[in-house]
Symmetry: C2
């Protein structure tokens, strides 16, 4: 595994490794990094907080994704969770576990991907931790600022509300399918959708300002995540493929990509019928009364594959 | 690895596993868990934030520490970092990566240890994430509230200030040494000091209120961490073994435990000469002008082992 020319993580101590990667990322806070903890502004007296763990071979593969792709994705899925509350990201903390024989260049590339995603999504890194591990493990915590808004929960959808999506669905799953079928030279936009999801983070606060009654990011598939809003709200989410969903299904060629594919981190929202939907949102259904199924697709229960489960074997 | 009677992580889906472990922990926030993110009060308009990653075989061993020990330790070292800013913990986010053949009972025990530490240190769990992994990986983020205090940094120590420690040093390293030497039936208080460190978290805000000029938690060893304050402040920390440090060295039998042993998470502070030290602090030295060495022990540079480095092989 070792060779003389390649610098490995285990060739450096923690201080030297930090000195190489921290300057690559946008770091900004009221203070730090460099102390025991960061200090982040929380101007409205509350802070949104969410965390996600990404594990090599479960959440990414180093032969399919570069270090930069992994850094981007780790940031993207966390800022999406912040947006899904109606907030903007005010800081990221990034924990990274690495094999000691991992190339330092991979870690630097990871930091560059974090930096690119921070620029894209308007985020900064305020803290982190490095550790040795058997495989690459990324643990990101995102903090967010609601700017005085009430957080938009999953529990406010009511019959008669419209169901809408900001961002595209199914493209990450279609890209993953290309990798799984051994077509890594397939359409670059689909491969990139899997490696570098682009959640429409500005649509989160916009949905809150427009009076959204429920909001979440679609990380585990539309049917599964719509079911979460349905159960939290005590309603049924009645999806229709006559509009945008149908167009996306036609384009991707498989309803399962659009209805059950995870990791696009689109935003799923419900709005009262009189709400003016913010630009990025397209209507994909309506809210009905609670019934036997939490989610209907064109009036029927979905009988295709379920969404993503982290422990499925 | 599998047997018919033992419930393993891979036998459950994520929802079922969460349903088993979340109720075991004190969860409290302005809302959640159960939405995309938690909402935590930040009454003074700022939030302290810190994160740590613990990896099996690097930071703990499952044959030496129970799940409850690991949960305790993960909480303890993060609340110590919050205390080291002069703040109190206002919320924890806990990411847990686990092999699919890990016993569910271990995860429940881990949650019980988190809960016990939360009770000890006055913390609550506000969010988290579960994932499959090759080894147990724990990623904890702690948030903290300064209650209007200025954060105490590492950079404020000035010549003439006193150096003081709250909590004991060297006991975790002495306990680890017992494990490494194959004496797991050695003194229980030392073994427990390694498995369940007890940072004096109330001493952090107390130090801030008493005017501490520098503050940090001793996680990598006294000499190494004192060097961090020295470099950040542009001074020399002159330690003396004539007082508390000497008593601890005598008790533990090896100066290296006290001077370089990590993971006790005692608090190291500097105070102006006229400050009234809060109860838990004992004087261990004084601050001198910057010299050739950032730290002196009884007037000489420390030439024994260095402190802990995560990538040392």
């Amino acid at each position: 595994m070792r060779d003389g020319d390649t610098l490995r993580v285990g060739d450096l101590d923690e201080t030297d490794l930090l000195a190489r990667v921290v300057p690559l990322m946008p770091t900004q806070a009221l203070l730090g990094p460099g102390d025991d903890a960061a200090l982040v502004a929380a101007p409205d007296g509350r802070v949104v907080a969410t965390t996600d763990v990404l594990v090599e071979l479960r959440d990414f593969r180093r032969d399919w994704s570069t270090g930069a792709d992994v850094g981007w994705k780790a940031v993207a899925q966390n800022v999406a969770d912040v947006a899904a509350m109606g907030a903007r990201c005010s800081g990221l903390l990034i924990g990274l576990g690495m094999p000691v024989d991992l190339e330092v260049a991979w870690v630097e590339d990871f930091a560059a991907g974090v930096a690119a995603a921070c620029r894209e999504f308007g985020a900064v890194v305020v803290g982190g931790d490095l550790s040795a591990a058997s495989e690459v493990v990324v643990a990101v915590t995102a903090l967010g600022d609601l700017a005085g808004r009430a957080p938009v929960l999953r529990s406010g959808a009511r019959p008669g509300h419209v169901v809408a999506v900001a961002g595209r669905l199914g493209r990450s799953a279609a890209g993953l399918d290309l990798f799984l079928r051994g077509v890594p030279d397939g359409p670059a936009d689909l491969l990139d959708a899997h490696r570098r999801p682009r959640p429409p983070v500005a649509a989160g606060p916009a949905a809150a300002d427009a009076g959204a009654s429920a909001l979440m990011d679609v990380s585990d598939g539309l049917v599964r995540d719509a079911g979460r809003i349905a159960r939290a709200s005590g309603v049924c989410l009645e999806l229709t493929t006559s509009g945008a969903l149908g167009e996306w299904i036609t384009e991707l060629g498989d309803p399962a990509f659009v209805l059950t594919g995870g990791e696009d981190h689109a935003l799923l929202a419900c709005f009262p019928p009189d709400a003016v939907l913010p630009g990025p949102f397209v209507v994909v259904g309506r809210v009905g009364p609670r019934g036997a199924d939490p989610v209907l697709v064109d009036g029927r229960a979905w009988t295709g594959p379920a969404g993503w489960d982290h422990f499925a074997r």
